[in-house]
């Protein structure tokens, strides 16, 4: 046995990247289960496809870069990227959507920038943006929550829909949306709560009128509120395990909540309130799982506060005044671009040294 000499701190947990990523995956499970419960088998199918694609492209890249593929494949970072992207896209999107997205994330955003720990941008969100601007139709056809449809599309029908974009009876996701608006019960596809509010507001309805829709009851839209609460639960688990620090989630949620409250004060019937901003869309997923990516986030604690508050600000601005109903991916990418300058101005002072002057 060799005597291990190290500088302080001496009590510490030596956790590998693979272990941390495993914890992140464990923390994702409640959210995934909630999504599966409310949105059906599509979620699980997307996950399987995403993970398969991630491993395939990852080993391809590692082979091309002449790296030992086994140890790198075991660090689970590709797995987390794939899972985050898979839970972000509509559950019944055609199979090639997720394959293109994950392949772009892994090959271009991760490996062309130098692999694990080198990427400037959050790979999952960059992949999401590619999909969003490339396939606007597929990326906006969300599934109606089970509370409205009564029952899920069966596993077989989900697979059929993902492979051929039609159910075995010949309906496409879009056609089912038509059926849905007629009867309100056969619905498979429909707008997300944020999309719904956005459309109504642009048509001159007030917020309270928009919230009368059957999609809303309780906090922030059927299904979505529980999915967000499940991700909040997973996020708290990550905090408790000290995989992430409190700075990013707290600053992101605080800045979003503050702005939403301000918006409600100024224009109570035109701008959605705090409850909708916090518990609808991908807010909790973003706060605890996406913005906290240790590679593309700011590095110092103070920097992380600024970084996350910036994400909250951009999310609020795009959701309220921009061209898209939800804005997590754009906000995260834009904040990623600001990280170098945030890091420059928030570098902590070394203990015992005078405060540095900023150049």
């Amino acid at each position: 046995m060799s005597f291990y000499i190290a500088s302080s701190p001496h009590t510490r947990q030596r956790r590998t990247t693979a272990r941390l990523m495993q914890l992140v995956i464990v923390a994702l499970i409640p959210g995934i289960l909630a999504q599966w419960y409310f949105f059906g088998w599509g979620v699980i199918l997307q996950l399987l496809l995403a993970v398969t694609t991630a491993y395939a492209t990852e080993s391809l890249c590692l082979h091309a870069r002449e790296r030992s593929s086994l140890s790198a494949l075991r660090d689970n970072t590709a797995l987390v990227t794939a899972m985050l992207l898979a839970v972000s896209i509509p559950p019944l999107a055609p199979w090639w959507v997720i394959v293109i997205g994950v392949a772009f994330s892994i090959i271009v955003v991760k490996h062309l920038y130098g692999g694990v720990g080198q990427n400037l941008f959050n790979p999952a969100m960059a992949g999401y943006v590619v999909l969003l601007i490339s396939f606007p139709l597929q990326m906006s056809s969300w599934v109606a929550p089970v509370e409205l449809t009564g029952q899920h599309l069966s596993l077989f029908e989900s697979i059929h829909l993902m492979l051929f974009q039609y159910t075995s009876e010949g309906y496409s996701v879009e056609q089912m949306r038509m059926v849905a608006s007629g009867t309100g019960l056969d619905a498979v596809a429909m707008a997300t709560p944020l999309d719904h509010i956005r459309t109504d507001l642009s048509q001159g309805l007030t917020l309270s009128e928009s919230l009368q829709a059957p999609l809303f009851s309780g906090l922030a839209g059927l299904g979505w509120q529980w999915v967000n609460l499940a991700y909040l639960l997973g996020g708290l688990f990550l905090l408790q395990q000290r995989v992430i620090q409190w700075h990013i989630p707290a600053a992101l949620l605080a800045s979003l909540a503050l702005l939403a409250a301000l918006g409600t004060l100024l224009a109570p019937d035109q701008l959605p309130g705090m409850d909708i901003h916090l518990f609808s869309g991908g807010t909790m997923l973003a706060a605890f799982f996406i913005a906290t990516d240790p590679v593309s986030a700011a590095t110092s604690n103070r920097g992380r506060l600024v970084y996350a508050a910036l994400i909250g600000l951009i999310i609020y601005l795009i959701r309220s005044f921009g061209g898209y109903p939800d804005a997590i991916a754009f906000a995260v990418l834009l904040a990623n671009m600001c990280v170098p300058i945030i890091d420059k101005y928030t570098r902590p002072t070394t203990y015992g040294h005078p405060r540095r002057k900023l150049q």
């Binding site: 293109i100 271009v108 062309l112 590619v130 601007i133 490339s134 396939f135 606007p136 139709l137 597929q138």
Partner: protein
Amino acid sequence: MSESIADTDVADEASAETTNGRFDEVRTLTQNGLWSNNPALVQLLGLCPLLAVSGTVTNALGLGIATMLVLIGSNVTVSLVRNFVPSEIRIPVFVMVIATFVTLIELFMNAFTYGLFMALGIFIPLIVTNCAIIGRAEAYASKNNWQLSAIDGFMMGLGFTLVLVLLGAMREIIGQGTLFDGAELLLGDWATVLRIELFAVDYPLLLAVLPPGAFIGMGFIIAGKNWIDHKREQRNQTDSVKKVERARVTSA
């Protein structure tokens, strides 16, 4: 030797040496324009039109040819007047010359390729601001005779056009699955037969069609060029290393 030739204005000294020197110079110009000093890949000049109109091969080819013609014309003119232009005001004069040729090209395109003229829109007059053109006028044409300047303009324009067409082809294939879509706009009605449909896409990959696709594609092309250069350098190095080893063995 090539530099001394480049500096002489007298074209009819037809000794064996000068023809050799002239040939070398042309070869250097070709190599520079097409590869080692390519305006788009190495100098990164003229990226605005390059990225904006490379959505299809037709657009790319149209703009590439227009740029090439302007470049040849401006290079020749600048070279001819270079001894009469005071160096203090040479840049405005060059810009005037370039603007003249751009206006000519614009009128020609309006007259003969109206569809393409409409498709390219503002990017035809914007050729004036293409730094590759003023850059060549300043760096080469204002120091060399008009024949060499014309060749330089042609080669630089060709290098620019080739990159533009390559990028256009990449974006068109990935985005729409076709090649030479709308070639009739540039070449006349017979050219509709040139349209190749490689595969049918129900949902085009809009990323390739939109500007971000141009940036990403451009990045890939530059990376590809650097990769080829890198491989070449490695091969040359291993060759020279081998030679040295052999020399040592024989001397020992």
